[in-house]
Amino acid sequence: MTALLMPQSIPHLIRTRDLTKTYQVGDNQIKALAGVSVDIEQGEFTAVMGPSGSGKSTFMNMLGCLDRPTSGEYLLGSRRVSTLAGDELAQVRNSNIGFVFQTFNLLARTAAVENVELPLVYAGVPRAERRLRALEMLAKVGLAERANHQPAQLSGGQQQRVAIARALVTRPLLILADEPTGALDSRTSLEIMALLQELNQGGMSVVLVTHEAEVARFARRVLRFRDGQLVEDQVNTAPGDARAMLHAEALAA
């Protein structure tokens, strides 16, 4: 009785329990994930690190609801998504997760604003509202005046900003960024990290997958993977401030 009267604890943003993923390659079973249990809270900026083959990509696919675990449990918000399939997962991705990819993955020959609109199209948002929200997000990433440019007419950094606007447009629970600076030069990388940090300071949860310590240092928490297992869960007490570093660089130049 008393338990019910107790204040309900705020659910974790992400809770995984004993998450495993096994691939069958020929006669061999490959364990890409060997039982990962981790909690991530609302508003955290988390980096997932590890060498290739460590299972961090598989882990990211699980978090992004792109793939289903072989066993274990995954709760996103208060929803148990590890048992969902197909179109239900698509719906979860659409409304809860904003993806940012290393190669941007923008639709070619399609205006920036229309690229940003894409998730809203699948959410069934009416045309006029779609356009309004997309323009708002482009303004937020500083590309208001580039709304009608096609990806080929934009620089790499600008393309990644469009992709971030696209990730934000559905007001998701978290941004899942897979090597977002992998295809960018160091200065543009800093700009993108500054943008992600600003979004995080605004309350957006960010999960960043990277193999570069250089990038991971901007996160306040670092998860290290090796051989399909979470081997280190470290809090970064003094994360880098990308905006301040940009300023410093500008002054030095």
């Binding site: 698509a90 659409n94 699948y122 696209r166």
Partner: protein
């Protein structure tokens, strides 16, 4: 995503590879155009057969003079004059539902002024006009009195009128047939070509008595009452088969044929002949359409081929769309609409080209064509069905991609 949105995405995707889209459509364009042309030509041929049947006259029986056997050699029909004007009169008298018209046939040279023309002469009774459904373009027909008195009057067909008189009015002119002067009292309406392709308008009709006595009568023919053919028109609504049997029985009785003995005449139901021709022309039209639709199927395979290429090329796009929330049916719909758009645009272009070609054939080759809205609708429906059928497999392949692998695809 709604249909309009899918259509917009499809149009954009097709516009990216304009040449490829056009070449892909080409199969459907050719297929649809071929189907339209073939149906138009087939229906035209059928229509012509129908008109020829009508020009023949409906509910007709044709009695031809029978065969003779001389010394074991069987001669063809008409080699012996076994039927006569009396047979015709008897049929008319004994079988109330019929009207019988005997006809004597021969060829002769016609002379008018300084022109001349060789044509077919028919010696007939006034009923012949009615039985064969000839219409008069001008003048009058001869009557029973003309037949009784063997007057020297005649009617000419359109071809004769044109060839012999040129621009002059044939009515009242006197032409000479085997040195006998005939007054032209009427001109027949045109009937055009017969089913066999001969000119039905190249003829002269005159009273059977005059023809026998003055023009065609040589030797025995003048003395006898025999004729080459008797046309029997059976009243509307009468059972043709029963009428045929009645006529046959009557003639056998008049010719004193024993049971078991062969007919000495030939009795043909022209509608059966016509129906057979009509059926064969319909089969031909169907065959043409079937052959043409093979090219439609080939066009469909072309669409499937290009859609499969397109799905592979756009694997990453599909992966991204899935990542941002596209469901199976969204991806399926996108590629299906793209395939159907290809086939429908191709279909519409094919209809335009098909109609233009059919009209061109009618103009240049002079063939009869019939363009029907049904054939156009059929072509559109077919193009749509091809798009759905051949677009489904590539679309399903796209929709079944694994998002993780699709995103990683290089």
């Amino acid at each position: 995503m709604n249909l309009l949105g899918l259509l917009r995405v499809a149009m954009r995707a097709l516009a990216v590879n304009k040449l490829r889209s056009l070449l892909t459509m080409l199969g459907i364009i050719i297929g649809v155009a071929a189907v339209i042309v073939m149906i138009a030509v087939g229906a035209g041929a059928q229509k012509r057969v129908e008109e020829q049947i009508r020009s023949l006259g409906s509910n007709l029986l044709l009695i031809l003079s029978g065969t003779t056997t001389s010394g074991g050699v069987r001669m063809g029909f008409g080699s012996s004059q076994t039927i006569s004007e009396d047979d015709a009169a008897a049929i008319w008298r004994e079988i109330p539902e019929t009207m019988a018209a005997p006809a004597l046939r021969g060829t002769s040279q016609l002379i008018w002024g300084n022109t001349n023309w060789s044509t077919v002469i028919f010696g007939v009774t006034p009923e012949y006009i009615d039985v064969r459904q000839w219409e008069l373009a001008a003048g009058r027909i001869f009557d029973a009195a003309d037949v009784a008195g063997a007057t020297k009057v005649c009617l000419v067909g359109q071809t004769v009128a044109r060839q012999l008189f040129g621009g002059a009015d044939p009515l009242g002119q006197v032409i000479r047939v085997r040195r006998v002067p005939f007054t032209v009292i009427g001109v027949l309406e045109s009937k055009g070509q017969s089913m066999m392709g001969s000119d039905q308008d190249d003829l002269v009709l005159m009273p059977i008595s005059t023809a026998r006595n003055r023009v065609l009568g040589t030797g025995n023919l003048a003395k006898q009452r025999s004729v080459g053919t008797i046309w029997v028109k059976v009243a509307e609504g009468t059972n043709m088969k029963a009428a045929e049997e009645q006529v046959r029985a009557l003639l056998r009785q008049r010719h004193r044929l024993q049971p078991g003995q062969d007919d000495d005449f030939s009795l043909r139901n022209l509608e059966e002949v016509a129906a057979t021709q009509e059926a064969s022309s319909r089969v031909l039209a169907l065959l043409l359409a079937a052959v043409a639709s093979v090219s439609l199927v080939v066009g469909g395979i072309g669409i499937m081929n290009i859609m499969l290429v397109s799905v592979t090329e756009r694997t990453r796009e599909i992966g991204l769309r899935m990542a941002v929330g596209a469901r199976t049916r969204d991806i399926l719909g996108q590629f299906l609409v793209e395939a159907v758009t290809l086939s429908l645009i191709g279909g519409l272009a094919g209809i335009a080209i098909g109609i233009a070609t059919a009209v061109g054939i009618a103009e240049i080759a002079g063939w009869r064509i019939v363009l029907s809205p049904e054939s156009v609708l059929l072509a559109v429906a077919f193009a749509f069905a091809i798009g759905v059928f051949f677009g489904f497999y590539p679309a399903r392949k796209a929709a079944r991609l694994n998002p993780v692998e699709a995103l990683r695809f290089e």
